[in-house]
Symmetry: C2
Subunit: 209 residues, 2 copies
Amino acid sequence: MRSAVPDIVVRRLPIYLQTLCRLREDGVEEIPSHALAELLDISAARIRKDFSHFGEFGQQGRGYQVGKLIRELQHILQVDSIWPIALIGVGQLGHALANYDGFSHNGFRIVALFDSDPAKIGTTVNDIPIQPIEQLEGEIRRRQLQLAILALPAPQAEIIVDRIVMAGVKGILNYTSATLHARPGVIIEHINPTSVLQHMTYYIERTSS
Amino acid sequence: MRSAVPDIVVRRLPIYLQTLCRLREDGVEEIPSHALAELLDISAARIRKDFSHFGEFGQQGRGYQVGKLIRELQHILQVDSIWPIALIGVGQLGHALANYDGFSHNGFRIVALFDSDPAKIGTTVNDIPIQPIEQLEGEIRRRQLQLAILALPAPQAEIIVDRIVMAGVKGILNYTSATLHARPGVIIEHINPTSVLQHMTYYIERTSS
């Protein structure tokens, strides 16, 4: 199911891309490989090796062309056009996500909001109207949405995933505390602060001792 | 700086622990290794190999003792007692995090809130008062807080990190869009939905083709 490029490499590509985008915003057109390495806190050899999975993006001993490398990475990550996203659950976290300004410059736009609370229906967040959860499948099909973000209460998550997958969603970013069952052909990623904190605490005392 | 256990293994331990805690809540005391594997969508051999870095937690061909394994994993991840956390920035996302119910059962408790907006000072979220940002270092030192969560505007992040690291913070969970410089002896993890989405889109078309 997954391609031959190691997933650990794929996970670094968004970090490269976002750093390069910031450089471009700052007007940087070319960057020596050691300077990029320092910015990223990743060795220049590792960066070159990562890129080598996809072709040659720089010349040995010379720098990287920022704009060219951004376009290559956007193409590889398939974010050279905008992916529209459904956001399901518009509580405090959903509001924060709907207002998050980091999506639009990076290939994503939240275009539809859903909630089961009748009091919220018809109100807007960031100019996007909140729709009733009953319209979920219809709207996903009509707009051919392939990505969804879950920010609803955990007990509702599994059944909502069944519904959106049936309607055509292929990638789900799960902000709930629910552990979702795998579905064939669907990529589910979990944003779980507890896991990240527990990963940190593993290292904390070991680092300082 | 990091221990000999591969980080990819360490990253799976919180997932094991959280799944086992849910099993215990459901009254499960022992689970066959193949059943745990199915629940986790990870092979039984991989799970056994991961655990083998830390000793023997099960007997070949028999199941795992849920309670015993939880205690072992809590000890390894150093979450057998509660880590108090400072949350800096109490906007929509900060509110959601302060109200998040996934921390307390998993070794963490947000105990101090800070914001720079005078209108918020003295109000409470989840019974925790919001303190002025000027009291940040004093409160971190007084309570010996080693963990902090950043949910403040990105441009303020780097300078706040300097301040909290000086005050003794060793682990930082960064919810801002800022890429923070590495600091020696400090573990910084970034919760970045854009990176996770870009990781998904890498696979989406490749999976369905």
